[in-house]
Subunit: 214 residues, 2 copies
DNA sequence: CGGATTCTGCATCAATCGCTACATAATCCA
DNA sequence: TGGATTATGTAGCGATTGATGCAGAATCCG
């Protein structure tokens, strides 16, 4: 926050003084995994320094504070999972294919991580850290908006009837995806997650068969 | 834990010594709401004593420890919401009606509380308290088992084809219900939750129309 | 080399954590 | 009333929390 150079990693500038003895990216990844698994409040600085393999002064010099480290861990999480979560979605030819790819890729990702989605399951706002809570809330909202925009695009392309409720479709997909994070954290296996996706797509198809105005 | 009388509230026995100056049930309810909203780790004893309106010695005399208080708050939560969550489910004539009632009652409950379900969203196990984590995990699993048993019952009654995958149906319903907790905590309104339920029931109906073996 | 700069490890800060000892207050039974 | 029992309030326990001061080490530029 206070030092504008420290957070940006200063890619272009030549580093002066004693060089950092640890890999900042790896330390950040370790912190991310810890925050991901235990949440913000239950993760202490000593947990972090142990997992990152550094002392607390190095942590604070490199990341500023626990809150700033969490914010950066969130960004790192987003960078790491952007492609796997949205690649198929963006490449799909239709909104239906996009949604199905999105849910299937989510299922695949969740069955590997087994922690659920860091963004979906974060309760950092409710834990009393409103600024960080706003970060995760806006990240969640971005998913809903992406879904809605893709559906609107499908409407413009004539793929989906203009009278269909975009928000309803998107909310449903979001709900299923969120729920998958929870059952995955409780140990659901890939096959179960895939079955959930299949049933969700049945709902999608049935909803688009329904008369739009009832 | 150590004192067998303290946790059971000793309804029948005559109380001796100085009487308690606070309402144990109300204090427990206050603790439950705090744990519900903030989670286990982010809720401190001073938060609790402030919300319960008592001193810490009274808290420990009445509830034993923070962990025991959380466990009792969980039970209290279950008792408070058992009827509203499962009343319609148990009264329904068919499995389909039961599931729809379960999801609709969930939607109604979530739109009031706006915290999501305390059991669904608890991460106390991941926070490092495995015993409490086992409690919430088994509570979540109980929901899945109830759903599965109701579906099996419907199969026995000839209402649902025996070849349909019980676990798949139950997992889907559980996933949708879990997801609803998350979007409710993010501010989804009753109408949006109801729309999700409607779409979930489309999936239910479509799944039961599908040929069981593919 | 010397001086500036930056990072690391040790030690520690004030604050808070979960929890409790202790003296006093309020009730019961006799 | 007096002794037994239980609850309350103050005050504080040792441990841990998030976060730093500081001396020394390691690099840069000149």
């Amino acid at each position: 926050m206070q030092n504008p150079e420290s957070s940006g990693e200063g890619c272009g500038t030549v580093r002066r003084g004693r060089p950092r003895a640890f890999d900042r990216e790896k330390a950040l990844a370790a912190a991310m995994h810890l925050f991901w698994r235990k949440g913000y409040s239950a993760t202490s600085i000593s947990d972090l320094t142990a997992a990152m393999g550094i002392g607390s002064p190095s942590l604070y010099a490199a990341f500023g504070s626990k809150e700033a480290l969490y914010a950066e861990a969130l960004e790192h999480y987003g960078r790491m999972h952007e492609a796997t979560a949205w690649g198929g979605f963006l490449a799909a030819a239709t909104a239906r294919d996009a949604v199905e790819a999105f849910l299937r890729d989510t299922a695949a990702g969740l069955s590997e991580a087994a922690n659920g989605c860091m963004v979906t399951l974060s309760a950092v706002g409710a834990e009393g850290h409103e600024e960080l809570g706003a970060l995760v809330t806006s990240a969640r909202n971005a998913t809903l908006i992406r879904l809605e925009e893709r559906i609107e695009q499908a409407k413009a392309a004539g793929e989906i009837d203009r009278l269909v409720d975009t928000h309803r479709l998107a909310r449903f997909v979001q709900t299923v995806q969120n729920g998958m994070s929870l059952i995955a954290r409780d140990g659901a296996e890939l096959g179960e997650l895939i079955a959930v996706v299949d049933m969700a797509m049945l709902a999608w198809d049935a909803q688009l068969r329904e008369p739009p105005h009832v």
